[in-house]
Symmetry: C3
Subunit: 168 residues, 3 copies
C-alpha cells in the first residue's frame, strides 16, 4: 500500500521540524551562539579560580574550609582581579543576550549564508577580543573598540529583522 501524499508530507514535516538545524544559516547561528555562550560560561570558572587563589569570597559558608572565626573571616573580602572578571562576565550577559535573541530572529529572516556568517564571525571574534582586553587588561581603546564592534553587528542584525518582520 502506498502512503497517501498527505500522510507522507506530514511525516516529512515532523522530521524536518525537529531539524530546523539542517538549514545552513541556522546551523551557523547555532555554532556561533554556542561558542559565545561557552565563552561566557568560562567566566564562571575564571571567577572561581581567582576566588580560590586570591582567597576572596563573598559567602561566609564558602570560607568554612579555612576554619572558623577570624582566620576564615579575613577571606571574606573583595579582590580587584575577581571584581574584574565579574565585570567582564556581566558585560558578556549584557551583550550576548541581545545577540542570542536578535541573532536567532536574524537567522530566521532568511539572510544570505555568507552575510550571516560574516555577522556571526565578527560578533564572536569581537567578544573573544573583548574578554582578553578586559582580563589582561590591554590598554584602551582595545576593550572599548571590541565592545563597539559586537554592539554594531547586533544593531545591524536588528535592523534586518525589523525590515523583514516588522509587525507592530
Amino acid at each position: 500500500m502506498v502512503a497517501s501524499p498527505r500522510s507522507s508530507v506530514r511525516s516529512a514535516e515532523m522530521a524536518k521540524l525537529t531539524q530546523l538545524i539542517d538549514n545552513e544559516v541556522f546551523r551557523a547561528y547555532a555554532t556561533y551562539a554556542v561558542i559565545v555562550l561557552l565563552k561566557m560560561m568560562l567566566m564562571s570558572l575564571i571567577t572561581a579560580y581567582f576566588r580560590i587563589t586570591r582567597k576572596a569570597f563573598v559567602n561566609p559558608e564558602d570560607t568554612a574550609v579555612f576554619g572558623k572565626g577570624e582566620s576564615a573571616k579575613k577571606n571574606l573580602r573583595t579582590d580587584p582581579d575577581v571584581e574584574r572578571v565579574r565585570r567582564g562576565h556581566l558585560n558578556d550577559l549584557e551583550n550576548i543576550v541581545p545577540f542570542l535573541g536578535i541573532g536567532l530572529l536574524y537567522a530566521l529572516s532568511g539572510p544570505e549564508l555568507s552575510t550571516a556568517l560574516l555577522h556571526f564571525r565578527i560578533f564572536a571574534g569581537a567578544r573573544i577580543v573583548h574578554t582578553f582586553a578586559y582580563l589582561i587588561p590591554l590598554p584602551q581603546p582595545s576593550r572599548g573598540l571590541s565592545w563597539a564592534v559586537g554592539y554594531t553587528v547586533t544593531i545591524l542584525m536588528a535592523y534586518r529583522v525589523l525590515k523583514t518582520a516588522l509587525y507592530l
Copy 2:
C-alpha cells in the same frame, strides 16, 4: 518535466523553515523582542555617557586618557547616576531574559494574533515606562507598577505555554 510532489514539498518546506518569520504572531514576537532588546542595549550607551560626563570609572585603564597618577586615580569612583543606570540595566536583564524565552515559546504555542499583540505591546510599553521611571526618577509607585505589569504579562504567557506544551 513536472517535479514529483515529494520533491516540490521538500523545497517548499526548506523555504518555509527559513521563514518561520512569515507567521504573523511570530513576526509580532520578533518585532517586540527586538524593540525591548534595543532598549536594553541603549542602557550601555547611557552608562558610558554618564561615566564620561561624570568622570566616574571603575577600570584603571579607562582613566589613562586623564593622565597618570593622582589626577587619573580620582576618576576611579562610583557616581550615583552611573549606579542608577546600571541598576536599570540589570533589572532589564532580569526581566527581558524571561520575556525572550517565554515569549518565543508563547508565540510558537499558537495564540490568537490579537491576544499575542496585546501581551507583547503591554510588556514593551511597561519596560519603556520602567526605564523612564528609573532614570528620571519618577516618584514611586511608578517604577514598581511598571515593573509589575511587565512581570504579570510574562507570567500570563508562561501559563499559556505550560497549558499548551506541558511535558514533564
Copy 3:
C-alpha cells in the same frame, strides 16, 4: 473541487510551523525552560520581600513612604540577606541564559526524547537545589555541587549541538 496537493501542503505547513510545540522534545524543552525562568523570576519577589521586611533600599525614591529626612535615609543601606538573594539571582542569569540558548538548539538537533528529558530534568533540579543551597544557606559543597551539575549538563548539550550543527 479538490484542493491541489501544493496548497493543502502549504496550509498544513503553516499550521505546523506555529506548532513546533507539537514535537515532544520541543514541548519538554518549553516546559523546563518555563520552569527555570519562573524560578528565576521568583528571585525578584524574594528580593522585594527582604528589601521591605529588612528596610534596606537602594533608591532614595523607594524610601519616601517612610517619611523624609533622616528617618527615610537610614533605610538606604545594604542588608546581607538582600545581597544574598541578589547574588543568587545573578547566578541564575549567568547559568539559565546559556541553558535557554543551548537547550533550544539542543532540542532542535533531534535528540532522543528520553535523553533530552534527562538533561532538562537534571538541569532544572540542580538549579532548584542551588537556590535552596544559596538562600538557606546550606553548608558547602551543596551550592558548589548543584551549580556544577547544571553547568555540566549545559556543556553536554553544547557538545551535542556542535557535533550536529557545526558550521564555522
